[in-house]
């Protein structure tokens, strides 16, 4: 029976002795979706995954998989299976015995085990490597074997704990897309933990940002990128410039905020705010431009700054400027940029369209 949510986590928390690894977290994962837990190391995302998989016992809260409360069940009694970061293949078994391990435990007929195992190796692109030992495989191949070993069981939920973290950058990008395509083909729920935002943006249907043992926010990748709800997310995802300040004037659809370097108008986005409230204004680096003279009119906002340096990165160029209070500001342009060029120390204005300023109160 297909439930609407295959994973439901309710007030889940975990303490290791006096250390609180996870505060109290609740979220739901829609069946058949690719859900990513994203956050910095030590934030508690792996703890959440291990609690869902049954490898840790929660200090509080509940885990429901496919509608069934599994909080008290061991990993082998849950409808989930897990792919680990590394070292998780059985080194004394060859590829086909690794992949067939779970099926053998279920006492399936030999013929069926062989057919399912072969089909799965084909799907992960390892056909013909049946007899290889794990130490004869590259890191990428080992992770594919792990994936096959889990997927062959046909469970409803696959948990992935930083599965690509030990691979090099190029392979990680390839495998990332492949994971997404495999998930679309098998149609089960993937719950993937990573600290890499590019990886998360590539594969996720939804992203939950986890830090300091809390779920900071949860949304679709585009929303998380374009309109983060918290200054933490804005700082963690993308390359955003965050300016702290307080509100001077509240209007119907805009507020005026006083920052250390000047006053700016920011869309209010329906937020409940009051005068003198501390806020953060976030502007994505690709929406900033640097100009010698301040722009005319209400459609743009600007702050005075001085030029620091520019760094050519191939596809993009980073321009660094410094506000009067010393805060660094990053603007990004495509290629080598067609804008004005500045000498280090030259005075300039950082400019953005009023609608691109993002008001954050959390």
């Amino acid at each position: 029976m297909m439930t609407e949510y295959s994973v439901e986590v309710e007030n889940l928390g975990k303490d290791f002795g006096p250390v609180r690894a996870l505060n109290t977290v609740s979220f739901q994962v829609r069946s058949g979706s690719y859900f990513v837990l994203l956050g910095p190391s030590g934030g508690g995302k792996t703890t959440i995954l291990r609690l869902i998989g049954g490898f840790e016992r929660p200090s509080r809260g509940h885990v429901r998989l496919m509608g069934q409360d599994v909080t008290g069940l061991p990993p082998n009694k849950r409808g989930s299976t897990m792919v680990f970061q590394n070292y998780a293949l059985f080194p004394h078994m060859n590829v086909e015995r690794n992949v067939g391990y779970g099926l053998k435990l279920r006492r399936l007929p030999k013929q069926e085990i062989r057919e399912r195992m072969e089909a799965m190796l084909e799907m992960v692109g390892l056909a013909g490597l049946n007899r290889r030992m794990p130490n004869e495989l590259s890191g990428g191949q080992q992770q594919r074997v792990q994936l096959a070993r889990s997927l062959v069981l046909g469970t409803d939920i696959l948990l992935l704990d930083e599965p690509l973290a030990s691979l090099d950058a190029k392979l990680r990008k390839e495998m990332c897309l492949e994971l997404k395509h495999i998930q679309e083909r098998v149609g089960i729920t993937f719950l993937h933990v990573t600290h890499n935002q590019e990886e998360a943006m590539t594969i996720a249907d939804r992203i939950a940002v986890i830090a300091d043992g809390d779920l900071i926010e949860e949304a679709a990748p585009r929303e998380i990128y374009e309109t983060p709800q918290t200054s933490f997310t804005a700082g963690f995802i993308g390359e955003n410039n965050l300016f702290r300040g307080r509100i001077e004037k509240v209007e119907a659809d805009h507020v005026t905020a006083v920052l250390s370097a000047g006053k700016v108008r920011v869309p209010r986005r329906g937020l409940e705010v009051s005068e003198e409230q501390e806020v953060t204004v976030s502007i994505r680096s690709e929406l900033l431009t640097l100009t010698a003279s301040p722009p005319e009119g209400d459609g743009n906002q600007s702050l005075p700054a001085e030029f620091v340096e520019q760094v050519f990165l191939g596809l993009t160029t980073n321009y660094l400027a410094k506000l009067e209070d010393g805060q660094q500001v990053l603007a990004r342009g495509i290629g080598e940029g067609e804008g004005e060029s500045f000498a280090p120390g030259a005075p300039l204005h950082i400019v953005w369209e009023t609608k691109d300023g993002l008001l954050l109160v959390k």
């Binding site: 990993p75 070292y87 998780a88 004869e136 990428g140």
Partner: protein, 293 residues
């Protein structure tokens, strides 16, 4: 390595074999004497098996040999699983140091002190159990020896198993569990095959320790002799009879054969298993390592 002199390598081997030969020389001499009709110290040599024939016609010795084998096997059967459990506990324990000290404590107590303490302990225990409950459980007998043997062989077995276990990655157990294995299946099918060499070595080691042990066995036994206690007591009472050489030779040869066969078994087994897994006709690992990407 490519540039190092082949003679340096040969010299290292010669040195190693030289040291081993010097260490083993008295043992080889004992073996030599045990086959000489003229016995110890004689310049003349005539091959004979008489001492061995005498040995095997001596019922006391055969009895002792039988007891020894039973005692050694029982010690292995008790010590190795207990040490394995202890090692598993140690790996998962949060506070490891106190446990490690407790486990290794018997190593730091001299054999005769431990044997004497156990003797006093068992005597008293038996006395009180007898007086209060009418039980005669700790009368000196084969199982007081057995307990003594377990106590002193356990630290060795524990350390040997722990060393092999330290290379094991616990993610593999978790992976097995997430494939549907119970805790026992994950241990038996995934962890045990990888720590098997350590378990086997500790079996052999415990066997030999129990076989060669004299002090504890001699003090704690209730009147039966093991091979070693028989040999030593025989020597102490009757001096170096030629039979003693035959017995010593047999003990040494048995120990060496057990250890050597174990080493050979371990060395060949891993290769054998891997080539089985890889299947016939597959090139060796070194040839397939390259070009995986």
């Amino acid at each position: 390595m490519e540039y190092s002199s082949p003679w340096a390598n040969r010299a290292k081997w010669c040195y190693l074999l030289g040291v081993v030969f010097c260490l083993m020389l008295p043992v080889f001499y004992t073996i030599y004497v045990s086959f000489n009709e003229f016995g110890f110290g004689s310049p003349k040599y005539k091959f004979t098996l008489d001492y061995y024939v005498n040995l095997f016609q001596n019922e006391e010795i055969l009895n002792a040999l039988q007891w020894t084998l039973i005692l050694c096997l029982l010690t292995v059967v008790a010590t190795v699983p207990m040490s394995l459990l202890a090692a598993k506990f140690y790996k998962s324990a949060r506070n490891k140091v106190p446990f490690l000290i407790l486990m290794l404590m018997p190593l730091f107590i001299p054999a005769d002190i431990m044997a004497a303490s156990l003797l006093v302990f068992f005597k008293n225990l038996n006395h009180y159990l007898n007086a209060w409950l009418g039980l005669d459980w700790f009368n000196l007998s084969w199982y007081t020896v057995w307990i003594g043997q377990i106590l002193w062989t356990m630290p060795y077995a524990f350390v040997i198993i722990l060393i092999t276990m330290s290379r094991y990655r616990v993610q593999q157990t978790e992976a097995a569990r997430s494939c549907g294995a119970t805790a026992w299946q994950a241990f038996w099918q995934v962890e045990f095959p990888q720590i098997r060499p350590g378990v086997f070595s500790s079996c052999a080691f415990v066997f030999i320790l129990a076989f060669n042990e004299y002090t504890r066995t001699n003090l704690l036994n209730g009147g039966f002799a093991t091979f070693t206690t028989y040999v030593v007591n025989f020597m102490l009472s009757s001096g170096m009879e030629p039979e003693v050489y035959a017995m010593s030779a047999m003990i040494s040869v048995t120990s060496m054969v057990v250890i050597l066969s174990l080493i050979v078994y371990m060395l060949t087994r891993k290769e054998l298993r891997e080539s089985e897994e890889r299947g016939a006709g597959t090139p060796p690992r070194s040839a397939t390592m390259a070009g995986t990407g």
